[in-house]
């Protein structure tokens, strides 16, 4: 008996289920409701479709989760997607740069912007909100400048396959999502820096007294967030065959929503990538379901807002009541 208990307490999967019981129930509940509302919902094609739809938001939300775990926030996610997407499109179409090189440069642009965010934040101690707000405007402006304000079409098929391709029945972006999740999971849970991220978010001063370089941690998380934003920008562009300077508008807010729905504390120090995936799933399933039910996209925004409020409320309430003394 005792061993069983220990197993349930220590097994990471069970721990995960216990900590995320609220949102997990939400996902299951949503699925049940939707499968009654639309016969098409529970089909394999539609489920893959939901995963496809959430893939880029989830990848960006993983980056956001790292940042929020340290107690920060990154508002530049959406603009960086636009900037890297445009950069790649212009490099391929207008300058004839080979696809692999163009993709690499595009992602590096995202990384560089994230590095810039992190460096400024770490060394000037300016608030994350302000620095990334500035980057949000700068990157959006640059996205328009790069392509002269116009969408840029990419007709290179090998590039488009990056976003629209399949491995068997599964779309490549879904695979990217899970691969990135696995890598980041290792990074967060199996490296020193990973634990330092939790420590910095949990208590900056104690982290400082423990000899943790807060600057290093901040630079790393913002760089990763920038890198992942850049990557999603490239994938989105490939999927649409076009570089669009207006893409990713409000993507940072979707990423924050998924992170928070997934149980990550806005104060930092607590949260998981699995939670974020579930958070993104809730948003995705809801959007998909409401689409199937032919509900207008304007109404969907209203519903989405309320769902976030309710989900986070339940979570806050649950945490309060389980606190005890």
């Amino acid at each position: 008996m005792k061993n069983d208990q220990k197993f349930f307490q220590q097994n990471p999967f069970f721990t995960f289920f216990r900590h995320n019981a609220g949102v997990l129930l939400g996902v299951v509940g949503l699925c049940i409701i939707m499968s009654f509302a639309s016969p098409y919902f529970m089909t394999k094609a539609n489920i893959l479709n939901v995963f496809m739809q959430i893939s880029t938001n989830t990848i960006a939300a993983f980056g956001m989760t790292l940042v929020i775990l340290t107690g920060g926030i990154d508002l530049s996610v959406g603009s960086l997607q636009a900037l890297t997407g445009m950069t790649v499109a212009v490099l391929i179409t207008n300058l004839g740069i080979p696809v692999p090189l163009a993709v690499l440069i595009g992602i590096l642009v995202g990384l560089a912007c994230g590095l810039f965010n992190g460096t400024i934040i770490a060394f000037t101690k300016m608030p994350e909100f302000i620095v990334t707000l500035a980057m949000m405007t700068i990157a959006r402006g640059l996205a328009y400048i790069v392509g002269d304000g116009k969408p840029t079409r990419v007709s290179d098929d090998s590039f488009n396959q990056l976003g629209a391709g399949f491995l068997g029945p599964i779309g490549l972006p879904i695979i990217y999502m899970f691969v990135i999740m696995a890598l980041l999971w290792y990074f967060l849970n199996r490296t020193k820096t990973g634990r330092h991220i939790y420590a910095v978010g949990g208590n900056k001063e104690a982290a400082l007294y423990s000899g943790i370089s807060i600057a290093k941690v901040q630079i790393i998380v913002f760089s990763l967030s920038g890198l992942l934003s850049g990557f999603t920008g490239v994938v989105l562009t490939a999927r649409m065959y076009t570089g669009q300077p207006a893409i990713g508008n409000g993507a940072e807010l979707d990423a924050i929503a998924a992170t928070v729905l997934g149980g990550t504390s806005m104060a930092g120090g607590a949260g998981t990538l699995g939670g974020t995936l579930i958070g993104a799933l809730i948003i995705g399933i809801m959007g998909n379901g409401l689409n199937l039910l032919n509900i207008s996209s304007f109404m969907q925004m209203v519903v989405k807002g309320f769902v976030i409020l309710v989900a986070v409320f339940i979570d806050t309430f649950r945490k309060k009541s389980s606190k005890g003394i």
Partner: protein, 495 residues
């Protein structure tokens, strides 16, 4: 009116899984100062939170001035004339004193409901003056010293016509001189028939200013004594439920081998600090609050920038530019404020202990769970940390256990030089004795300890040598403990 200002009878309180208060009874006369004594977790805070309206009791009766009453919120408590001064001050730093006094209960004019600044300011001034505090009611709280802020909090309670004031470790961040002022203020309050419940771990204070002592243990009242008719040993054995045979464990392990030499160390806060530290010794570092003791530890640990001076470790000059350099050289610092500086409080106990030694448990992207459990388990056992699981959050543990976790976290790094800044502040008697024993064991193994402390009994009983600081520098070092007593330390502190 009844005989008592407060009578709490047969109070019971349950929390999920914890029977926090069992049949507790407390009686407080008008004008009485009652010490509430007990180890952390004995139920003192819970009992006081019931009085201040943060919790409500499951069972029991409360009478105030003979009238039975129900306290179901902090504002009920305030309206009943109970003022609580918490350990952490609850003033808004960027607001003026009078604004703080009337926060939430601002006086407004009839009709236009304009706030009446002048009236509020005058009323504040009146209260401050009645307590003999010479502070301008329009000064910002952030411009006041901690002691002044505390006085202001007490004055604020008085301004609500508080008849009963609860003080939770009011002297924990005051200097000796400021403590005297607080005593004066308490004397004045007594004369006005105001009753005080005084929570403190410092025995000297209890004997100096309280009339009676109520001792609690494990959620129950052990007994009440007239302060003048009891003694420290009796109170301690009541608190821990057994006779503490030896409070300070101290054997001489000091050698003549120099470990650390600090020469002319100067920072923004310290100037020309020079001292040596020998292998296996405990160097007591004392002085008044603001003398630069914690700042010196911060400098040695690379948190404050060193402007000039040299540090030699084992005869070799070392450069400490940040805490990582300090750690790499075998230094460890258990900081003054464990909640703010020592612990990731919302994280679990295992996470905190292994934070400094992640290299040992994480290699090649693999978590060595066996090693992790081994490290955590051995410290849990050796330091007698009371937690039911390594996953328990640190914030739910008692102060003594938290302090042991900070200690464990640094001991895991096998330090050569251990700096302890107020190692037993806010720690209960039992855990205090255990921490002293651990210090003694460490010196036996050859660790050198710099112990910063404001508690003179601790300095006198645990140190091999004592350095006194004043105005940012070490003014004297006593090489022989026979020369040291409270009086000479005070003389040098006021240097």
């Amino acid at each position: 009116m009844g005989e008592y200002a407060i009578e709490m009878n047969n109070i019971h309180k349950h929390f999920p899984g914890v029977y926090a208060l069992k049949d507790v009874t407390l009686k407080l006369r008008r004008g009485e100062v009652l010490a509430l004594l007990g180890e952390n977790g004995a139920g003192k805070s819970t009992l006081m939170k019931i009085l201040s309206g943060v919790y409500s009791s499951d069972e029991g009766e409360i009478y105030i001035n003979g009238q039975q009453c129900h306290i179901s919120s902090p504002s009920d408590s305030r309206n009943l004339g109970i003022g609580t001064i918490y350990q952490e001050l609850c003033l808004v730093p960027n607001m003026m004193i009078w604004e703080n006094f009337f926060l939430g209960i601002e006086k407004v004019s009839l009709g236009l409901r304009k706030i009446q600044i002048k009236e509020m300011r005058n009323k504040t001034k009146e209260v401050l003056e009645s307590l003999g505090l010479d502070i301008d009611p329009s000064s910002k709280v952030s411009s006041l010293s901690i002691a002044q802020q505390q006085m202001v909090e007490i004055a604020r309670a008085i301004s609500f016509n508080a008849q009963i004031i609860i003080m939770d470790e009011p002297t924990s961040s005051l200097t000796t001189k400021e403590v005297e002022k607080l005593y004066e203020l308490i004397g004045r309050l007594k004369k006005n028939d105001i009753s005080i419940i005084y929570i403190s771990h410092r025995m000297e204070e209890i004997f100096k200013i309280t009339d009676n002592v109520l001792v609690m243990r494990d959620g129950e009242t052990v007994g009440t004594h007239i302060t003048s008719k009891t003694n420290k040993d009796e109170l301690i054995s009541m608190m821990v439920g057994r006779v503490v045979e030896k409070y300070y464990t101290k054997n001489n392990h000091a050698t003549k081998e120099k470990i650390l030499e600090v020469n002319d160390l100067t920072t923004v806060y310290n100037k020309n600090v020079t001292f040596d530290l020998y292998k296996g010794e405990i160097l007591g570092l004392t002085g008044l609050m603001g003398a630069g003791r914690s700042e010196l530890s911060r400098a040695l640990f690379g948190i404050d920038e060193i402007l000039s001076g040299t540090i030699l470790l084992n005869g070799k000059a070392i450069l400490i530019k940040n805490p990582r350099d300090a750690i790499a050289n075998g230094l460890a610092l258990v900081p003054e404020n464990r909640r703010e500086q020592g612990l990731i409080i919302r994280n679990n106990f295992g996470f905190n202990i292994t934070l400094q030694v992640l290299n040992q448990i994480l290699h090649n992207f693999k978590l060595d769970r066996k090693k992790e459990t081994l490290i955590i388990g051995s410290f849990k056992k050796n330091l007698n940390i009371q937690a039911f699981s390594e996953k328990q959050k640190v914030m739910n543990l008692s102060g003594g256990n938290q302090q042991k976790i900070v200690l464990a976290k640094w001991l895991a790094t096998d330090p050569i030089v251990l700096i302890l800044d107020e190692p037993t502040r806010g720690v209960d008697v039992g855990a205090k004795a255990e921490i002293y024993t651990i210090m003694n064991q460490l010196t036996e193994k050859g660790v050198s300890i710099i112990m910063i402390s404001s508690e003179l009994p601790e300095i006198l009983n645990m140190s091999d040598r004592v350095a006194v600081m004043s105005r940012g520098t070490i003014v004297t070092i006593f090489e022989n403990m026979d020369d040291v007593n409270q009086q000479v330390i005070m003389n040098y502190s006021l240097h």
